[in-house]
Structure formats: C-alpha cells, structure tokens
C-alpha cells in the first residue's frame, strides 16, 4: 500500500503544480491594476501631499508608510507604558516579587 502511494504521490504533486497554469491558460493575461488618486478633489494639504506621493513616487510613499508605522508603534508603546505606570506597576525595575 505504501509503495503504491509512493509511486502515485509524485504524479499528484505534479498535477497540483500544473493546475494553476491550466487555469491561467483558460483566460487572457491579467492586466495590472493601476490606481491613480484624484488629487484634483483633495483640498487638505497633507492629504494632497500623500495622494501626490502615491501617484508620482511609490518608493517615497513606501518609506513614509514605514516611518509612520514605526512612529505609531512608538506612540502606542509609550502610551501603554504611561497607562501601566499610572496603574501603579513599575516595569522599569527587574526585582521579582514572590510570596
């Protein structure tokens, strides 16, 4: 039984590998989706800046996304530290309290 399965297994794996290509062959090549932000209707200066960046320079847009995400993470971390300290827990000391 195991021997037979071992013989059929490569065939099944090969079929699975080929299946997606059969599906692609059924239709035409998929077009790339390009999205352009309509900066004509954006009045806010900051939003206009980011919309323009999205249209014209995707690399800088990605850098901004990383910087803002890191900044937001830092903000949440400091906020949580503040809340925890207000709860009376001092996490800056490493002394273990055991009873």
């Amino acid at each position: 039984m195991l021997t037979r399965t071992a013989k059929v297994l490569p065939l099944i794996l090969a079929l699975l590998a080929v299946l997606p290509q059969l599906v692609w062959a059924a239709g035409g090549g998929a077009s790339e989706l390009v999205v352009v932000a309509d900066t004509r209707v954006v009045k806010n200066v900051v939003l206009h800046y980011f919309a323009d960046l999205y249209n014209m320079n995707m690399l800088l847009n990605a850098i901004w996304a990383v910087v803002l995400t890191a900044g937001y993470g830092g903000f949440l971390g400091f906020l949580m530290d503040f809340i925890i300290s207000r709860c009376g827990l001092d996490l800056t000391k490493r002394s273990i309290v055991e009873h």
């Binding site: 989706l33 999205v35 352009v36 900066t39 004509r40 209707v41 323009d52």
Partner: protein, 112 residues
C-alpha cells in the same frame, strides 16, 4: 549626541520634502479619444470636477489633451470611450503620463 540626532532627523525630513516637491505631479480625467500605440500617445477630452448624477465622472470641458505614455504605467488597456485618470508631469507644453488608470473598466465605485 542629542544635537546629532535632531540634525539627522531634520536632514531626513528636509530630504523627503524636497524629493516630494521634485516629484509633484498633476492629474487629469476624461474620455479617451485615441490610444495611439505606435506613437505611444493617448488623447483624452478632459472632464472637470463638477460631478452630477448624469456626469458621475465630471462634466466634459471640450479641452483635448495629448499625453506621452512611453514611460507610463498603464493598467487595463484603454480604448476610445473609456474614462481615464492620468497622473502626469509637464515640461515645455508636453505632458508626460506617469500612471494611467482605466476608470471605466476598474470602477471602484460600482459597489456603492
């Protein structure tokens, strides 16, 4: 050390802002009149931003503009009659498209 840190942050912010200013572009939307694949140009009749139920992509202005799309990123291939949204830069009265969105065939507002 603190001064170095602040200076680095300021330099980074200035660089980012200057880069963005250098890449500032414009956007035009309108009906595709011609898509010349040989000349790599797209001609559109521009629409304004007066959106109405009858003209949900804007009202036709009658202004016909030709965009050089030789270096543009083009989505679903445009055909005459399609509504296109083009991000572009201009120099010496020539318009260079950067991205071309086929609004008609990629209508994100259909779900509304």
């Amino acid at each position: 050390m603190k001064r170095l840190f602040v200076t680095s942050i300021a330099a980074f912010a200035l660089t980012v802002l200057l880069c963005a200013a250098a890449w500032a572009g414009m956007v035009a939307q309108g009906k595709c009149i011609e898509n010349d694949k040989a000349a790599k140009t797209i001609k559109i009749e521009e629409y304004d931003i007066n959106f109405t139920p009858e003209n949900k992509y804007g009202t036709p202005t009658g202004t016909v503009t030709v965009f050089d799309v030789s270096e543009a990123k083009i989505g679903i291939p445009p055909e005459p009659g399609d509504i296109l949204r083009i991000a572009y830069t201009s120099d010496n009265d020539k318009y260079h498209a950067v991205k071309v969105m086929n609004v008609t065939k990629q209508d994100l507002s259909k779900k509304k």
